[in-house]
């Protein structure tokens, strides 16, 4: 098996629960107890109201493609296996997330419904990607 050479996240104290949940194939988001906002990426305080009472909630894993591109030539050698689909997905809970869509490039559309797919890229790391909801 080939070694995984792409960048992997280094979880921080704040983000560790997010990546640990991904490892268990769950998508979790921070939620502000005060203003009830869902938050992604994980932050030390709520970016809406700066309250520090944040809890973790499991998300539905459903979303829609807000925008995407087919990267045919990547800026980094680690992604020399391009083309790949890079997208911003709007989660059902509201936040936007940068991710990859696992689909044929010509099948992806803005507004398309997608669901989370957990890609175990290394024994320690699982990335949150998406695939078409009807696939």
């Amino acid at each position: 098996m080939n070694a995984y050479l792409k960048p992997v996240p280094t979880p921080s104290k704040i983000s560790a629960p997010f990546w640990a949940a991904a490892r268990r194939h769950k998508l979790v988001l921070q939620r502000c107890e005060r203003c009830r906002a869902f938050i992604y990426y994980p932050r030390p305080r709520c970016p809406e109201c700066l309250d520090d009472r944040l809890t973790w909630e499991e998300a539905t894993g459903r979303g829609t493609v807000y925008s995407f591109t087919v990267v045919r030539r990547a800026a980094s050698r680690a992604f020399s296996d391009a083309p790949y689909i890079l997208a911003i997905v709007e989660l059902e809970e509201g936040p936007h997330i940068t991710t990859n869509i696992l689909a044929a490039p010509e099948a992806v559309r803005i507004g398309m419904k997608v669901t989370a797919y957990f890609d175990d890229v290394t024994p320690e790391c699982t990335l949150v990607k998406f695939k078409p909801a009807d696939a």
């Binding site: 792409k6 960048p7 992997v8 996240p9 280094t10 979880p11 921080s12 983000s15 990426y41 807000y66 925008s67 995407f68 591109t69 087919v70 990267v71 045919r72 030539r73 990547a74 800026a75 980094s76 050698r77 680690a78 992604f79 391009a82 790949y84 890079l86 997208a87 911003i88 936007h96 997330i97 940068t98 991710t99 990859n100 490039p105 803005i110 507004g111 890229v121 790391c125 990335l127 990607k129």
Partner: protein
């Protein structure tokens, strides 16, 4: 507070970009551009008492301003690094004016320079980009602007040939600019659209080419401006705004912080888009120009595509836009790419643009843009009759 007519650009220094650095270092390029600008202003090095500098990506380090000032032999009474990406050049101009207006200094050297470095040698980014963007391949600026273009096409029906027209018209002006990297042959819309697709929907010729180079301007107050060897180019209005760092968390992909920065600058100047003789909007990609012109109020939101088809953006046209060729034809020497919009506007307003001189150029709109439509700095510049 208003910075209207408090300071003026009186000196320009700009190097011809090169693809390869040869033996040059970023500091050498910075020194060369600085020497040019100070001489152009008719000043001596000892006259420079304010120093604003952009850190070269190729030679990063903390405490950069004092290191660069020492290397250039400056003894500034005000010094700082301006770290707002492609908006740094424009951002330096109003910061210089504010420092001069506050009597902290009299003559500010604003300088940027860099070598051409690509790919995996890029400088360290904030940890959130490394953690939540890079693992998915959102590395560099191409992907973000591609997603902006894709969404703009989706929301407003913008077409590839409309975006391509920006690169084509700017090339017409580049042919008259001896400093431009791409100034040897014209470009057609078909050539842009048949160039290699890099990140859908952006083709190779819609993407800036990184080069080595440097650019500087000298900003002074009214007293020194009166002694300028050239017509002084006055700052009439300035505005700045930033809504996000990563485009993922931007409130909108298609509506940018230019709305706030340009509105602030126009209000300070007491002028509007229709008053401008020329525009120098940041052009890292073709789509950047459409979004900027829309958000600055040159046309209705979403109409940037049809708007650029209806107007001739070349130096001889009805809306001269980036008459140095823009970064798309001039090249992008790091932060000096963003400074090129300032130098070109100043050159035009001074009446020193040679064969590409815009007739009766009196007022210019300049927009600097950092990151992925993140930091926005708008300037209104004027030549007094």
């Amino acid at each position: 507070m208003s910075l209207k007519s408090k300071a003026a650009i009186i000196g320009i220094g700009e190097l011809k970009p090169s693809k390869e650095p040869g033996e040059s270092t970023a500091l050498e390029l910075m020194a060369a551009a600085s020497a040019q600008a100070i001489a152009d202003a008719g000043l001596e090095k000892a006259d420079i008492d304010g120093f604003l500098v952009g850190m070269p990506f190729n030679d990063p380090g903390i405490l950069y301003p004092s290191a660069a000032a020492e290397a250039l032999g400056l003894r500034p009474r005000m010094l700082n690094q301006v770290d707002i990406g492609g908006a740094s050049g424009a951002g330096m101009v109003w910061r210089a004016a504010a420092a001069i207006d506050g009597s902290m200094c009299r003559a500010v050297l604003c300088v940027t320079a860099d070598l051409n470095r690509l790919g995996d040698q890029r400088p360290p980014m904030i940890s959130t980009a490394r953690e939540f963007e890079w693992p998915y391949g959102n590395i560099g600026a191409n992907c973000g602007y591609a997603m902006i273009a894709q969404r703009h096409m989706y929301e407003y029906g913008t077409r590839p040939e409309q975006m391509a027209k920006v690169a084509v018209d700017q090339r017409k002006s580049a042919l008259k600019n001896p400093l431009a990297t791409f100034n040897d042959k014209p470009l057609t819309i078909d050539e842009v659209l048949s160039s290699r697709m890099i990140v859908d929907p952006l083709h190779l010729y819609e993407i800036v080419s990184p080069v080595c180079g440097g650019a500087a301007v000298v900003v002074v107050g009214p007293e020194l401006a009166r002694r300028s060897p050239h017509p002084a180019v006055w700052l009439l209005g300035a505005g700045e705004s930033c809504g996000h760092a990563s485009i993922t968390y931007a409130p909108s992909l298609t509506e940018s912080a230019v709305k706030q920065s340009a509105a602030t600058a126009f209000a300070m100047a007491g002028l509007g888009p229709r008053d401008m003789s020329l525009v120098c909007p940041y052009d890292c990609y073709t789509i950047t120009v459409l979004v900027t012109l829309e958000d600055a109020g040159f046309c209705k939101k979403g109409h940037g595509g049809p708007f650029v088809m209806e107007h001739d953006l070349s130096y001889a046209g009805d809306l001269p836009c980036n008459t140095h060729g823009g970064q798309l034809s001039f090249g992008q020497p790091g932060l000096a790419g963003g400074m090129s919009h300032v130098t070109e506007a100043a050159r035009q307003l001074m009446g020193r643009a040679g064969e590409r001189q815009v007739r009766d150029a009196r007022l210019a709109f300049v927009n600097g843009n950092g990151g992925i439509m993140s930091e926005q700095t708008s300037l209104i510049l004027e030549r007094r009759a």
